[in-house]
Subunit: 502 residues, 2 copies
């Protein structure tokens, strides 16, 4: 504050308004104020230079990241205490600890917290126009079973750091600013990704979400676990009960493109389209030693051809195809498997590409099961007895295009944060992964900020983002929110809470 | 007995010898004998006609099969009460019940029972030369987790039926006749097939076998389960403690060859060679949406290529290759698997073929893991990052050749049982599956009898062998044992208890 007061005295003003929420702020050692009169720095009175001087505290951010990673610590990959992965499944005891920290910390920073019926936690710091929907930043604190310390966690802790910077500098925003922790984004424990932002957006029925059963051991549901850890809130999980003025999400890229191109910030234009399928191949259990190749209906050999074929289709379509789960029955070395079930995840930037691939799969897999030669999959093979295949589409996420105003705010923020060489360090890109921002974008202006992670590795204990890249991302996030706040005021735009077309 | 006394009076004789074991026989309603003097029919005094007139009782055999299948009943596949599969894992409570039945029944038929340190149960009916090793028939009462009612069970119950026929007809054999139930033949619960005949033969150390850990849930060992169900016998599990004069095994073919060729009896010349491997492919867990195909080390795509390649090698080598188990990590729809482990079972009639295939696999799999194109596996694929592969040979079973004298006895028995058209109904064949006879053949003359099973299906609840085929097999088994008993006497051959070369 002392620094700001010196450098930007023109921006300082006395205000007689009372901010009950801000009065909860812990007394910063070097400052004291009377109860009735405070120095407040208003976003709409800041020029670009003042805005840019508001900076996140890198070491404090990293401390928050690693401090919260004590809950659900995973596999060690390096010598340092912070070099472990994470295994913080949604609504586990570890997740509860992280949530409690988030509630405690944001409340201490002057936020009002709300927990909705999906356990989503909204921490809102008041602004001048507190009747308007807050500008939110958000991500998730849950992880994959063998995840890392950055996926989701960076976005939430950067939001907390943003609140700390605003508090430290007594910044008063025109609109409220919120940080949201979305529940079960990963879909790793309860098998539906981004389910809670999906309910908020009205895209997934609450009942469907509440009834989701955990994958292992399969007894608890989302509703029972929300109740168990005390996060089954009374507020309806809905964009109507908790409207958002915007949603910004900082995230590691989870891919290698930024690193390979030597870029620092990805300005995310949207999210690629994807579909998830469950494929079941039924053949016949038979003895491996006594059944000649012609007399087999080998469900695993057939599934192997399908997995290879899906990769070939992805190659020819410039798309992605992946199988992450495969189970077979009965599971004995000397029994040819009679049943194989596997997941198939196909993605491409354009909806039309995903639709074309889905059609090819629906056409080709039954042919492969029947023993036909598709793209030479039967070369040097003996055709056995036919298998049956069933294909179920579990999830369809059309391509998402983010909001131009949010993208513009992130652009400005990135240039501000990166300085003179910024043009060489910024990359416009499309997200390969789904994020909660996919659902928020249906109900409010949304965009995302990517920072590079080592070798593009994610969903892996060794997932790693450099401290300076975490801080840079948080800085861009902070600047985006402040610039968007100013933009909202300048334009007096009220974005509709209905799905909009760009 | 009345029938026999009329038709073959020349074969009947009075004996003053006392057979304590036979005195345990339940009094057959229509017969009574003084304690000191009995009619006994001696095998060496029977001509071919008399021998052939000794017949198994088909309905009694089927009753034993289905009665014992009450313990460990599996999946229903048909409308009748007997149309279910079996799930009787070795040393389970259900297996204990079946074992108790076997002990009870064979003892009631005048046998002395011995349980060895592997829980193998030897039921021996005395003969005239009770100082000599018995002629055994044997198989196993354990099943696959999704097995059927005939694999193993037919061989043991046919042995019991054989004892009943001998008892009913007061047949006295020259050499003792035994029935053996081998423990954990399937290797489905404790992952080593034919482990207990292997210990008996001196091929597998007792300690290795005792320490085998069950696959699910993985806490019990063979030793702990043997003790728990009361079948940890004091007799050493060894061919030295329990020598065998011969070992005959009746089994369903578990393949389609007999049925396809319209044959009724397979005279098994030996068992094909096989090797079991565990293959581990290590790649890298990465996000399915954000990792382009070039940047992936996809362990499952690589494993799929290997499984397909092993099938192609089997095709070109006229051999078999099968994968029955596959596990992957971490197992999430949107994570490319970083680790896949799968089993590989390769088989061929000749050792040299199996060795050639093993060498090709050891040479080709690392190339496939490294991203090289082997037999066009990379056609239309994008080469990703290299994976690592490790190949462990778990089990090696060289080709087995059965004993010509045993094979000759089975030939005679089959011709006798099948009558005038026998030449059209018999097939010399090699077993595709391993059996306990592989190990017994290392220590005593051995051969096997196959009967057809429907569509060759085995290791499947719907495994099915017609009643008349079960009975025909049991009849050939009975005749083989009796003919071999006569052969032993005629030749006064004492087969060595050491491994022999044919």
């Amino acid at each position: 504050m002392a620094l700001l007061a010196n450098r930007f005295s023109s921006a300082l003003r006395t205000t007689g308004r009372s901010y009950p929420a801000l009065s909860k702020l812990p007394a910063a050692g070097q400052r004291s104020f009377s109860a009735s009169s405070r120095w407040q720095l208003h976003t709409k009175e800041m020029n670009d230079e003042i805005l840019a001087s508001l900076k996140v505290n890198q070491s404090r951010l990293m401390e928050d990241i690693h401090y919260t990673c004590q809950w659900g610590m995973g596999k060690k990959w390096g010598a340092r205490s912070t070099e472990t992965g994470m295994s913080r499944l949604a609504l586990s005891d570890a997740d509860k600890e992280a949530r409690d920290w988030f509630m405690r910390t944001t409340e201490a920073l002057g936020c009002n917290t709300t927990v909705d019926a999906m356990g989503n936690i909204f921490a809102v710091r008041p602004g001048i126009r507190s009747d308007k929907p807050p500008t939110f930043v958000g991500s998730h604190l849950d992880t994959q079973p063998t995840g890392g310390r950055y996926d989701g966690i960076l976005g939430v802790t950067a939001g907390v750091e943003l609140l700390k910077v605003l508090a430290d500098n007594w910044v008063e925003t025109e609109y409220p600013v919120g940080v949201v922790n979305w529940t079960n984004e990963e879909g790793a424990r309860f098998p539906l990704s981004m389910v809670s932002s999906g309910v908020w957006a009205g895209s997934i029925p609450l009942e469907t979400a509440h009834n989701l059963r955990e994958i292992h051991p399969g007894t608890a549901t989302m509703a029972s676990e929300l109740a168990r850890i005390g996060y089954l809130g009374k507020t309806p999980a809905s964009y109507e009960s908790m409207p958002m003025g915007a949603h910004f999400e900082l995230h590691i890229e989870q891919g290698p493109l930024l690193e390979m191109a030597n870029k620092k910030v990805g300005i995310v234009q949207g999210v690629q389209a994807y579909k998830w399928f469950t494929i079941t191949v039924k053949g016949r259990d038979t003895h491996t030693g006594t059944t000649d190749l012609k007399s087999r209906a080998d469900a695993l050999l057939t599934a192997s051809k399908m997995i290879l074929h899906s990769h070939r289709l992805a190659t020819t379509n410039s798309a992605l195809a992946s199988t992450g789960i495969l189970n077979l029955k009965p599971g004995s070395t000397n029994t040819v498997p009679g049943e194989v079930t596997f997941s198939l995840d196909i993605r491409a930037p354009k909806d039309s590409t995903v639709q074309r691939m889905a059609a090819q799969i629906k056409s080709d897999f039954p042919k492969i099961a029947a023993g036909q030669d598709v793209m030479n999959c039967n070369e040097n093979c003996i055709t056995g007895l036919p298998c049956e295949v069933s294909i179920t589409e579990d999830f369809d996420s059309p391509a998402t295009t983010f909001h131009p105003d949010c993208i513009a705010a992130v652009h400005q923020a990135a240039h501000s944060a990166l300085g003179s060489n910024s043009h060489n360090l910024i990359m416009d890109m499309v997200s390969g992964a789904g994020h909660d921002s996919v659902y928020t974008s249906k109900r409010c202006p949304t965009s995302m900020i990517f920072v590079p992670c080592r070798e593009g590795i994610s969903h892996n204990p060794a997932e790693f983002c450099k401290d300076e890249d975490c801080a840079l991302g948080a800085q861009v996030l902070l600047q985006s929110v402040l610039r968007f706040d100013r933009m909202r005021d300048e334009r007096r735009v009220t974005w509709k809470q209905e799905p909009y077309t760009l």
